[in-house]
Amino acid sequence: MSSPSAPPPTPSPPSPMKEAGARSTTRLGDRIFSGLSKGSGIALLVIMAAIAVFLAIRAGIAIAADEGNFLTTFEWDANADPPRFGIAVLLFGTVVSSVIAMVLAVPVAVGIALFISHYAPRRLATPLAYVVDLLAAVPSIVYGLWGALYLVPRMTGPFQWLDDVLGWTGVFAYDGTPARSLMTVGLLLAVMILPIITSVTREVFLQTPKANQEAALALGATRWEVIRMTVLPFGRSGVISASMLGLGRALGETMAVATVLSPSFLINASLLESGGGTFAQNIASQFKEAGSMGRDALIASGLVLFLLTLLVNGAARLIIARRKEYSGANA
């Protein structure tokens, strides 16, 4: 009997419940409708739980049969008779490519958000915001195709240059093979998560109280000082949570990585040379050849990915939830 507690008009909570029998027809409709809507809400929770449970069951089967160590083995022979596989390389590749993407994308995204909210001429700002939102809708396979056929051939030059300048570090060593490496993947992921980080960050920046900005201006601050003193401190948690939403996208991205990366089960010290892999990419590329055990193994790696993104997204949402003013409507 939760129906009479309408959200705003709640001046009469308990009294009508006494005469419930009198108007049973309308009550029945109310009960069915509220039951349906509550039921679908609960169904969502059940789906979330089911995802975790079913992945965990299959993962359990796979990990029990695993001859190697699931966390530290540098191999993926899930279809061999004693299956040996481990996620070390995948975890490394996933984290490294996502971190590269974050390092490249977040500063640029903050710049674009500032551009749209505070620098661009007003007549330009609205269509620009619109275009950024449209770009967020481009399917990932198209990014993947572009990355593999357009970006990869063009990365050889810059990578050669990085090798000349920073090759001595080992991290930026480059052997001149096609640039299908974690670095290229990170760059492509950065391009892909730019729109989402930009649009969330822009929303937060636009909500900076006008009074604060005008006060700063009245004290003689330049535009940059206004931004540094009012906009950035106000939007800091928004920027953090937007970045984490972007990170969640980058961690789980499948197609763009599967098309660009030339995978291997070795961790290559150099980010510019091919090798490595990510969870999602490994699942997509290995699936067609996988037998029954192979699938269970892939599901086990998928469970790790699920937990990883759950952690990142949950944290992002908690940060957002602490500031009620901001609603992540289009996130």
Partner: protein, 361 residues
């Protein structure tokens, strides 16, 4: 008094001006920046020509660095350090914008330029049946059919579930359950599509032993679609003014009829927009389709039985063949896919603009 107080540090350094107060400090005229830009382009081109740098990107980079440095130096000497920093920040923000637009513009341009020549009536109306990877010809009819069927099935599952959940959250939900649902809907938005695919794989195909089918893919797509529908519908329902609900309830209309006849119709424009954006989003998903629909070169119009194809999967397969002919087909299909998604987006935003004010009046 007004000019002297704030920028005290620099006012003090310009000793002789103490007598008469300078209300305005010197500013760079507008043409000076244009002149600087032209000069830097000239320097970049000059250095590029002299040092024989082959990439135009390097010329541009040199020109940009010269421009940033020169602007900062000139502004610092004429306008003071604070204004120089301000100009530097403005230049960097503009640079961020341009740097980001280059790959995004290139992506759209490449897809259109390489894809459009391959799109023809034949391409849209034929399948890949019997076409080998190195051959010309073939088409995407089977893929379009698959995508449309899977997306429609997914929305049949996801739209009622999403709408009802949003209604619950806005109109009924209180307390811990509503908060848990809100949180998990948010978290669900971030589920990687491949994980949704793995879930349906483990439940539907491995446990219940059904085969690959369009419907299996549609279930995974529905999992991805529901949270988007919930979020956007929730936002729209919150915009419906309470006066409307109160007026309806005061006339003795039961609550469920109030929701169905007053609240939902008022917000229908925004809800439609949200649903179409969600459709556009799932139409481009590839990962769950690989796991659940499997791919098929022939036309299979039955989404409940047998492997199908879909546009994103088609692009991925053609890319995988690695021949020029297959690449051409991949680009053409990508162009069709982008056009499909963009049309959905534009129509959705058109509806939003057309129907927008009804909620806020």
């Amino acid at each position: 008094m007004s000019g002297t107080t704030v920028p005290a540090d620099e006012e003090a350094s310009r000793g002789p001006a103490v007598g008469r107060v300078a209300l305005r400090r010197p500013r760079l005229p507008g043409w000076s920046l244009a002149a600087l830009a032209l000069g830097s382009v000239a320097v970049g081109t000059g250095v590029g020509l002299v040092a024989r740098l082959d990439s135009r990107g390097q010329w541009g980079l040199i020109a940009a660095l010269v421009f940033v440095g020169a602007t900062f130096a000139l502004s610092a000497s004429v306008e003071g350090r604070r204004h120089a920093v301000d100009r530097l920040a403005a230049v960097l923000v503009w640079a961020c914008f341009i740097v980001a637009m280059v790959p995004l513009a290139s992506l759209v341009w490449e897809t259109v330029a390489r894809g459009i020549p391959g799109v023809s009536w034949y391409f849209l109306t034929h399948s890949m049946n019997g076409v080998l990877s190195w051959q010309e010809g073939g088409g995407i009819y089977h893929a379009i059919l698959g995508t449309v069927e899977q997306v429609l099935l997914a929305s049949v599952i996801a739209i009622p579930l999403g709408l009802l959940t949003a209604v619950y959250l806005v109109e009924y939900g209180r307390g811990r359950l509503a908060r848990a649902i809100t949180f998990f809907v948010d978290v669900m938005t971030g589920i990687p599509s491949i994980v949704a695919g793995l879930f349906v794989l483990s439940l539907w195909i491995m446990m219940l032993d059904f085969g690959y089918s369009g419907f299996a893919g549609a279930m995974a797509l529905a999992i991805l679609m529901v949270p988007i529908v919930v979020r956007s519908t929730e936002e729209m329902l919150k915009l419906v003014p309470n006066e409307l609900r109160e007026a309806s309830l005061a006339m003795g209309v039961p609550k469920w009829r109030t929701i169905l006849k007053v609240v939902l119709p008022t917000a229908i424009g925004g809800i439609t927009t949200g649903v179409m954006l969600a459709l556009a989003r799932i139409a481009g998903e590839t990962a769950p389709i690989i796991l659940l629909v499997f791919g098929n070169n022939m036309i299979n119009g039955n989404p409940f039985e047998g492997a199908q194809s879909s546009l994103p999967l088609y692009v991925y397969e053609q890319w995988g063949f690695g021949t020029e002919q297959a690449f051409d087909r991949a680009w053409a299909a990508a162009a069709v896919l982008i056009a499909f998604v963009m049309i959905l987006n534009l129509v959705a935003r058109g509806i939003a603009r057309w129907k927008a004010p009804s909620g806020g009046r």
